[in-house]
C-alpha cells in the first residue's frame, strides 16, 4: 500500500484506526519525509552550481572555517594567493607612494602570543562577512553591501571614499586606495578613491569555485562552504567541533569562524 493511500484512508476512518495502525502511519510518514529531504539535498547541490543568469539567494550563506593548528607561523600562502588573484601587494606594481599602513590589505597573517606560556598561534585575518555588518550600517550611499548569500563587499560604483566603513569595522578589514592604479585584474576591478576588502573571491564563488586563499593553503586549514547546507562539510564540522567567532561579544554573527584559538 502506498503512503498516499494510507494517509487518505486515515482521514476517512479516523475514528476506527487502532493504535497499531497509527504507529504504522507515523513510521511511514517519517520515511516519506526522509525521502523528500534526500531529494531536497540533491537539489541544493544543483543550486550551488548556479547558472550565470540566476541571482544569488539567501538559501546559501558562504563562510570559512579556519583551523589555526594547521596554520604555520612562517607561511603566508593564503596572503600571496589573494594578492595574485586580486592584484594588490605583491600582485601589483602600483601603490608605490603609499606607506605600508596605507597600502591595500585584504588579508593578513596575525600572530597571537600567550603572555604567560609564550605559546604562539598564527591565523589569517580578513573580512569576517558578518550577518549584521557594521560597515553596511554606516555606509551613506549603499556601496558597502551584503549579498543575499552573505558575502559582504563594496559596490565601487557607489563608493564615494568617505571611509566611514573602515572606522566601523571591528576587524580592520578594509583599506582605501590612495593612488591611480594600472595593473588591475579583469576579475577584480579596483581604483583610486574607493574602499575595498576581502570579497570572499565573489567572482570565483559565482563560478562554483572556492576562494583563492582556501585553494592555496598547503595544510587545507581554510575550509570554504555553505553554512546553510546541513550536508556541507563546513556545516557538519561546525556542528560537531568547537569553533570561535573573533569578538563574538559583538554578536555580529560572523561567516568566518576559527578553531583552536
Amino acid at each position: 500500500m502506498s503512503d498516499e493511500k494510507a494517509l487518505s484512508g486515515e482521514k476517512v476512518m479516523n475514528n476506527k484506526i487502532d493504535s497499531y495502525k497509527r504507529r504504522f502511519l507515523a513510521q511511514s510518514a517519517v520515511i516519506t519525509g526522509a525521502a523528500a529531504l534526500g531529494g531536497g539535498l540533491v537539489l541544493t547541490r544543483v543550486v550551488q552550481a548556479r547558472p550565470a543568469s540566476q541571482a544569488v539567494s539567501s538559501k546559501n550563506r558562504w563562510g570559512l572555517l579556519i583551523d589555526t593548528r594547521k596554520c604555520a607561523n612562517d607561511c603566508d600562502a593564503c596572503v600571496q594567493a589573494c594578492e595574485m588573484e586580486h592584484g594588490w601587494g605583491r600582485g601589483s606594481s602600483d601603490e608605490q607612494r603609499s606607506s605600508p599602513a596605507q597600502k591595500a590589505q585584504w588579508i593578513r597573517k596575525v600572530t597571537l602570543r600567550d603572555r604567560t606560556t609564550g605559546h604562539e598561534t598564527s591565523l589569517p585575518m580578513m573580512c569576517q562577512h558578518c550577518a549584521h555588518p557594521p560597515c553596511v550600517d554606516v555606509c551613506p550611499t549603499g556601496a558597502s553591501m551584503k549579498r543575499d548569500d552573505g558575502i559582504v563587499l563594496v559596490d565601487k560604483h557607489r563608493c564615494i571614499g568617505c571611509r566611514y566603513c573602515m572606522m566601523a569595522c571591528p576587524y580592520k578589514a578594509r583599506s582605501f586606495i590612495h593612488e591611480d592604479l594600472h595593473g588591475q585584474k579583469t576579475a577584480s576591478p579596483r581604483g583610486k578613491g574607493t574602499v575595498e576588502s576581502c570579497n570572499l573571491c565573489v567572482h570565483r564563488v559565482d563560478q562554483g569555485k572556492i576562494p583563492a586563499c582556501a585553494e592555496a593553503c598547503p595544510e587545507k586549514a581554510i575550509l570554504f562552504g555553505d553554512l546553510k547546507d546541513a550536508d556541507s562539510e563546513i556545516a557538519r564540522r561546525l556542528a560537531s567541533e568547537p569553533s570561535t567567532e573573533i569578538r563574538g561579544d559583538l554578536r555580529l554573527d560572523l561567516g568566518v569562524r576559527y578553531q583552536n584559538i
Binding site: M84, D155, D180, P189, G191
Partner: protein
C-alpha cells in the same frame, strides 16, 4: 531697418560662419571589431543605448551575482580590440582605443577605466603564473 532686421541678420551671419566649421569636424573613424559580424544588439541600438545596458549589467553583477556574457563589459573586448603596431591590444590610455574614438569625438569622459581593465583578459594560464 537695422533695428528690425539686426538680430536675424546677426543670427544668419553667425550660422553662415559656423556651418563650415561644423562640416569640417572629422567624424570618428570607428575601428572594426576584430571578429564577429554582429554585435550583441543592433549597431544603431548599441550606439544609443550601450551605456544603459552596461549600467544595468553592472548592478546585476555586483549586487545580485548575475554574470551573463551578453552585455558584460568584459565581453565587449572579445571583439572590440584595437591592436598597435606590435599586435598588442591598446588600452584606454591610447586615443585609438575602441571606446576612446567616439568618446573623444563626443567629448564624453567615462571613468570606467579607473578600475576596470580596458583590454581583453589574458589567457588563464598567464594569470595563474602570478605576475610580479
Amino acid at each position: 531697418m537695422v533695428k528690425r532686421y539686426g538680430f536675424p541678420l546677426l543670427l544668419a551671419l553667425l550660422l553662415a560662419a559656423g556651418t563650415p566649421a561644423l562640416a569640417a569636424a572629422p567624424l570618428p573613424d570607428i575601428p572594426k571589431a576584430i571578429k564577429g559580424e554582429q554585435c550583441v544588439e543592433d549597431t544603431g541600438f548599441m550606439r544609443r543605448n550601450h551605456m544603459a545596458l552596461l549600467e544595468h549589467q553592472r548592478d546585476d553583477t555586483v549586487q545580485r551575482g548575475i554574470r551573463t556574457r551578453q552585455h558584460s563589459l568584459k565581453h565587449c573586448f572579445t571583439c572590440h580590440v584595437v591592436q598597435d603596431d606590435h599586435s598588442q591590444p591598446v588600452t584606454a590610455a591610447d586615443p585609438r582605443h575602441f571606446c576612446r574614438v567616439c568618446h573623444d569625438y563626443a567629448a564624453v569622459q567615462v571613468d570606467c577605466w579607473q578600475c576596470h581593465v580596458s583590454i581583453p583578459e589574458p589567457s588563464a594560464t598567464s594569470l595563474r603564473g602570478g605576475q610580479p
